[in-house]
Amino acid sequence: MTAPAIELKGISKAFGPVQANKDISIRVMPGTIHGIIGENGAGKSTLMSILYGFYKADAGEVFISGNRTEIPDSQAAIAAGIGMVFQHFKLVENFTVLENIILGAEDGALLRPSLAKARKSLLELEQEYDLKVDPDAVIEEIGVGMQQRVEILKALYRQANILILDEPTGVLTPAEADQLFRILGRLKDEGKTIILITHKLREIMDITDTVSVMRRGEMTATVKTSETSPEHLAELMVGRKVLLRVDKTPAQPGNVVLDVQNLRVRDEQGVERLKGIDLQVRAGEILGIAGVAGNGQSELLEVLGGYATGTGTITLNGQPIDLTGKNSDGRSRRANGIAHVPEDRQREGLIMDFSAWENTAFGYHHDPRYASGILMNNAAIKADTQEKMDRFDVRPPHPHLAAKNFSGGNQQKIVLAREIERNPDLLLVGQPTRGVDIGAIEFIHQQIVALRDQGKAVLLVSVELEEILGLADRVAVMFDGQIMGTRAATDTDEKELGLLMAGVTA
């Protein structure tokens, strides 16, 4: 029997009081794709950072192809044949592909020989793995899918036999993700070993051979992918049975609540980010905005939420809404009956240093229930926060705890409770479950559907296509600041939406 490509024995790592990795052992056989799945904070990234020499493990051993190996830094990891593709690419934006590939692996003081050599081996790699890129293209001018390929090529150029990919599909369209998986399959056929870190069950099921599940710093199980199911994996991740599908009845759409006509927004550089958006959201329906991140969804939420300016007309229940910024800000939008769960809860939705009760009043701090006269009624806010925390099952249910001390899912529940319990006519929700554990996702989805069932309008922006398809009643796809098409969620599929997300109209 051949030695495993990577074997970890008893890896432990603590950050202060937090045990990020606890006695973790895995074996990854050469020529396989091994998935590591777990919720945010389960310790996946820590484990891979130890393997790549960013962190030093408190205890445990690493074996590469059967030999015990010390990995004190990333140079040692590269020397051991480990290549890493990070979630956020480490590329120099204004360099060419070729320059990025030799960066840090130059042969001498002069660049020309290195570049020539790299060009030659790039050609060989292209043929061997079917990884086509233009070596002279500048990074900032090529798409994210292409940039990711450059990252993979960078690792291969450094003779990597083991490739670690951290959440590789987070920024890709479904089509780009499929391409990536084809490349990974090809690499596997050529004998490379691949470790895929993800929180997406579908990816694990699609391309891995074996999968390890992490929960709270521990490796809870390693199973053959062919012998498991998404439901089983989810249960292993969360520690209890979870409902992966959103449970909802068909929508009962009523009157138009939000009507957007020819909305245009320019950013600070004067670049047009929204190029004439038309959309409507009715009472009792969820309109999902699908699209790859950065195609104008954030700007749409900002302008609807009152903190960006634009041109065009927006009406809410027939009443015009100011877009110029003169009579519009977050506060006036709230007064209009628009509640907003922002995309970035840690930098917008919450103030991380504030207590949960202060965050519950945040944005509504002028409400007469919270402020009597010029002083705030702190006792009333705290009592209200306690009630909300109980209703939304926020753990731990302590209003005095600072927001930063809650997990991602519980932070989101604090924001959601604040916004939903205002009983708004329109709820704007951005990335409701980003960085949220699976157990909390289920609950958050239920709350959004419940608001819809009360006859409220919901505008949902998410880069998770699965979430859009599961939660939304209608789906509008945004690409390059425009809406490429709107479909009923029941009449479409990932393939059709994926094409629209890439800007292809049938």
Partner: protein, 369 residues
């Protein structure tokens, strides 16, 4: 879960910093051939050993409370107001105008008017940098520093060319009328049988400073505006999301800050000198930064830190008077305190945090990435 318990955060860290500063100061005093123990004894008896010493300590502390609160309130909005010095100078101008040109029947009315006058002048002086920051993005640290110099020049001009009594060679205003004389602690405490030193300059302004501490505390922690100021200071994006206007909060916070710095003038100009002289502020605007840092921008912390710096000021003056320790060394000691409590805060904090972590390491805490 915070890394350290609250008491360690607010008491232990500053205390250890202070002790370190004291040890280093003692070494410096040793190095120049003086006896540090005797020096400390002299400082304590000089500053706290008599009602005269207390009177000076509290007088300085009153100045530092105003300027410390001024810096603290700006800190809460994420703004670094280095212009307390200039704002206090202009506050002095406000007090002088109020006291010189209006015949007041009673000191209490004059005091109220002087509070308003000094606050308005200080606030207006802060308003220009605030506006430039809010609407033009000119960095407030740079502009407030520059405004300190402009303030000094303005004051110089006003004292030399406008307010100087005819025939006087001194760039200062005339002495204020006896009617606006503020009661000193001696006069205030005599009716209740306490014989406070007659010569000490501490006066009723101390009470105003204490009221200001309470009001600032109420504003910051108990009002919607305070929540807005603190939100803006923590996260501009979150403030924008909540509909808290950046221009509005920057202006309000700086007006309040400048107003508080200006109010210092009721103590040094109206309470002590009873006329406006050049360089009346004597660096109290800058000490306010150290006071706010050490007091963690909390009004109660500012109160304690102001007393401490008042003690250092008065004790230092005594040292300079009675020993051959040069006055410059007092500045060194003050600088060491500022260095340890302000700039080198993390040097004490980090090991303490690690110590508390080690003490509480438990197996049942959640894992993280």
């Amino acid at each position: 879960m915070d890394v350290m318990p609250k008491w360690a955060e607010v008491i232990l860290v500053p205390l250890i910093s202070l002790i370190l500063a004291a040890i280093l100061s003692a070494l410096v005093i040793l190095a120049i051939g003086e006896d540090p123990v005797a020096a400390v004894r002299l400082m304590i008896t000089g500053a706290l050993g008599s009602t005269y010493g207390w009177g000076y300590t509290l007088y300085y502390a009153t100045n530092f409370m105003f300027t410390g609160l001024a810096v603290a309130i700006a800190f809460h909005a994420g703004l670094f107001n280095i212009g307390g010095e200039g704002q206090a100078m202009l506050g002095g101008l406000g007090v002088a105008l109020v006291c010189l040109f209006i015949p007041w029947p009673h000191w209490s009315m004059a005091l109220i008017a002087a509070v308003v006058g000094s606050a308005v002048f200080g606030a207006l002086w802060a308003a220009i940098p605030a506006y430039l920051q809010a609407s033009r993005g000119s960095h407030i640290v740079i502009t407030t520093i520059m405004f300190n110099f402009i303030a000094a020049a303005v004051l110089n001009y006003m004292l030399v060319n406008v307010l100087r009594p005819a025939g006087s060679m001194d760039p200062a205003t005339a002495r204020f009328d006896e009617a606006v004389h503020l009661p000193s602690l001696h006069e205030m405490l005599a009716p209740i049988g306490i014989n406070f030193s007659k010569a000490a300059p501490a006066n009723v302004s101390l009470v105003v400073a204490l009221i200001a501490c309470v009001l600032v505390w109420l504003l910051i922690w108990r009002t919607p505006l305070g929540l807005e100021i603190r939100s803006f200071g923590k996260s501009h994006r979150a403030a924008r999301y909540a509909g808290i206007g950046a221009v509005r909060i920057t202006m309000i916070a700086m007006l309040l800050s400048g107003g508080l710095a200006g109010m210092m003038a009721i103590n040094n100009v109206m309470g002590e000198a009873e006329r406006l002289v050049l360089n009346a502020v004597e660096g109290a605007g800058f000490i306010g930064i150290a006071v706010a840092l050490m007091g963690r921008s909390h009004p109660f912390g500012v109160f304690l830190a102001a007393i401490l710096f008042g003690f250092l000021y008065q004790g230092g003056a005594e040292l300079a008077l009675w020993t051959s320790i040069p006055r410059e060394l007092i500045v060194v000691i003050q600088a060491l305190v500022i260095l340890f409590t302000g700039a080198l805060d993390n040097m004490v904090r980090m090991p303490l945090e690690r110590m508390f972590l080690a003490m509480r390491r438990r197996p049942n805490v959640q894992a993280g990435e």
